[in-house]
Symmetry: C2
Subunit: 432 residues, 2 copies
């Protein structure tokens, strides 16, 4: 797509639609591409990135320069930066995806019916995927690689802050696709900063099969609200760890501390700690002290504050109703003492975001009930919630973590970018 | 839900939201219900229907009476009617669903990661399902049975024509649920004819996880357009049969005839016949004559009309571009001679509705390419497209045929009413 930054809204929309039509055409060709051909394209793109190191860094300098002038926050500037280490990571990511088994064409559950018809389900590409994301330029490569591997055409709309970097990466992708003999429209980067492009993309139902937004809550909610195409959403991670009365004390403390403090900003970070009243007196004081020492702000229920007071842990604030609904994404933790497993499950299902929740217990039936009854995309036993991640789950790479229930729930890897059709094999079968 | 037919729009909306809240609560209880308990409810509902035969027929008489006065078309009156045969079918349907294996709780793909974490996926209920349908009262039972078996709560909104019948069926369901000790809100029938109820249901995102509309295209499109909840759609079936140059002539004729004439009104009926030019001269004249004898109106491409003329088949009209886009759902067939497999696949992917398409061939590679490259929910080899149906596919029962790509594609049985969550089993695992 050629730049249309100066064009009117109608021109931008028309250009996005044309982009969609080209993607649809490319998707038809990809449907009959071989595994070898798609893998060759991934290798060629990696090779192009390697050759283009200096020009990628130069293009990125332009974005950083503009970001500095615009006064972007340090965290955003850091995400935007493309250094050798990050280029290495992009190249390694392409290699990881190349090495994954091809998800396309496999047939499951092929069964012969009584009348001799054989019926099964074949995994196929979704078709055309639209991805809308914010400042990290590496998403351009990660998303393109996963979509291409799964036989999809993809339309990428990155953040305006990364305009030059994304354009330079897009050149590498285009050269790699050409080398492998795949259509240029397999991966298209919308290179206009005009916001009308997003509106046009998320309503191009004729050409785009699914939209995946990656970014903050407001971006995702706006897109989900306005899209006329199905959206795979990645919303809040309000994760819990529940310490059962049958927990191993050492595991309880380590898991709770790791779930909160491994990284505060990830969606798998624990936001609320629930502790069975039968063990709260024994376990909670040491845990609170350790969080306090790590400068985690604590907000507790009444019982938690009593226990903190008795054991000399200072500064545990009173949690209010709103705290149980809060994803802090920072060094804050709410703590509640509960009557037992039932209250813990009810609390999680009511206040949680159905992302990732863990129980610490040595009790078999408690673990089985927690697994069955907690309605979250990942439910864990004796493991820290921060494991919720495609790479940790063995997916090789992920394009996000779906908080939806339909289609794909939890980390989205290659399989989430595919669908299954029925195949029916007969020998002249007719219905009577 | 008590009737609110006289109430204002706001009251109706409030009542639907209250209905959603009750359903959400019931869904939490269902999540921990046993297979035996859900099966007992299905058996009890069947028993209630058996006992209530006479009152069901009496209630249905009220609907039929009103329909007659309102001048409903014969086809609609037929759908509305509830006689002993149809009550038998509802009872048999409950038994079929009861006998299906419980989809809930099964764990797939449990694998041990290098760090010892075991990660797998557990099948769980979706939660709360909203079903909006038109006049057939039997849908009330079929939909309730499938949703209940899969551990979901369901809110049913039937057509106003079937108001009394649906209320009588709802009473049987309620009694059966009570007998099995499941919450009354497991199955709720919205018994107001106020259209505002539909609007409220399809936007109750807090309480409803998915909407399944069953009915005509306009109903489905309106709901998909206005819903803020994911919708599983069942749209057009513009199905093709392609007669390859390597087709067995007898199979070709039988499959084509059956695909069109088994039933004109089903979504798996063939609407366009494609024939390879290499065999069109040999095969098409007899096929056209047979369709003409069955009083199927024929609309052909130029070559089809030439062949019809040469062989004395009368009245083959000229097909225009619009015909290739038409789902006739009646005794009309468009016929096109194509250059071969590539043109057939391109035609199907371009003009078709991605529902069900078949090839007739004895050529292995042609069959493999057709299966891989035709982008439809069902792709068939040497079988008639009218096999596209959940019962024929061994699903036991179906709630519709999804024309969507995400979540579930093709006939939707129990599995389509479930989702999968990740389960992660550790032994004190933390990330470093």
């Amino acid at each position: 797509m050629t730049a249309a930054t100066q064009a009117g809204k109608t021109d931008v929309a028309a250009e996005v639609v044309a982009c969609g039509a080209r993607a649809r055409h490319a998707a038809r060709i990809l449907r009959s591409s071989s595994t070898a051909q798609r893998n060759a394209a991934l290798a060629a793109i990696a090779h192009q990135l390697e050759s283009a190191r200096e020009s990628l860094k130069a293009a990125n300098q332009g974005d950083l320069e503009r970001g500095r002038r615009a006064g972007l926050a340090d965290a955003l500037m850091d995400r935007l930066a493309l250094d050798d280490r990050r280029i290495d990571a992009m190249i390694a990511g392409l290699e990881t995806v190349r090495a994954l088994p091809d998800p396309i064409g496999g047939v499951d559950e092929l069964r012969r019916q009584a009348n001799g018809l054989e019926i099964g389900r074949m995994r196929t590409p979704l078709g055309v995927i639209g991805i809308i994301y914010e400042s990290r330029p590496n998403v351009t490569i990660d998303a393109a690689a996963l979509c291409l591997k799964a036989g999809n055409a993809v339309i990428l709309r990155g953040g305006s802050e990364a305009f030059d970097s994304n354009r330079a990466i897009a050149d590498c992708i285009a050269a790699g696709l050409a080398e492998a003999g795949l259509p240029a429209a397999t991966v298209q980067v919308i290179d206009t900063t005009d916001r009308a492009a997003v509106g046009a993309l998320i309503t191009a139902d004729e050409y785009v099969d699914v939209i995946i937004p990656r970014g903050g809550r407001s971006l995702i909610e706006r897109i989900a609200g306005e899209a006329t195409i199905p959206v795979i959403k990645h919303l809040d991670g309000l994760c819990h760890v529940y310490i059962d009365r049958h927990a191993d004390p050492r595991k309880a403390e380590e898991i709770a501390f790791n779930a909160k403090c491994f990284r505060y900003g990830i969606c798998g970070a624990m936001e609320t700690l629930l502790v069975d009243e039968a063990v709260a007196g024994d376990l909670l004081p040491a845990m609170l002290a350790r969080f306090a020492a790590a400068e985690v702000e604590l907000r507790g229920c009444e019982r938690t504050r009593e226990l903190a007071g008795e054991s000399g842990v200072q500064g545990v604030l009173a949690a209010d109703e709103q705290d149980w609904y809060s994803e802090y994404l920072g060094p804050i933790l709410s703590v509640k003492v509960v009557a037992g497993l039932d209250e813990a499950i009810d609390h999680i299902n009511h206040y949680g975001s159905h992302h990732t929740d863990a129980i610490v217990t040595e009790h078999l039936t408690h673990s089985r009930r927690f697994l069955a009854e907690v309605d979250s995309s990942s439910v864990m036993v004796n493991a820290a919630t921060c494991f919720a991640d495609g790479a940790q789950y063995g997916l090789g790479a992920e394009i996000g973590i779906s908080t939806d229930k339909l289609h794909v729930r939890g980390p989205v890897g290659l399989e989430g970018l595919t669908t299954r059709k029925y195949i029916v094999l007969g020998d002249g079968h007719v219905r009577s």
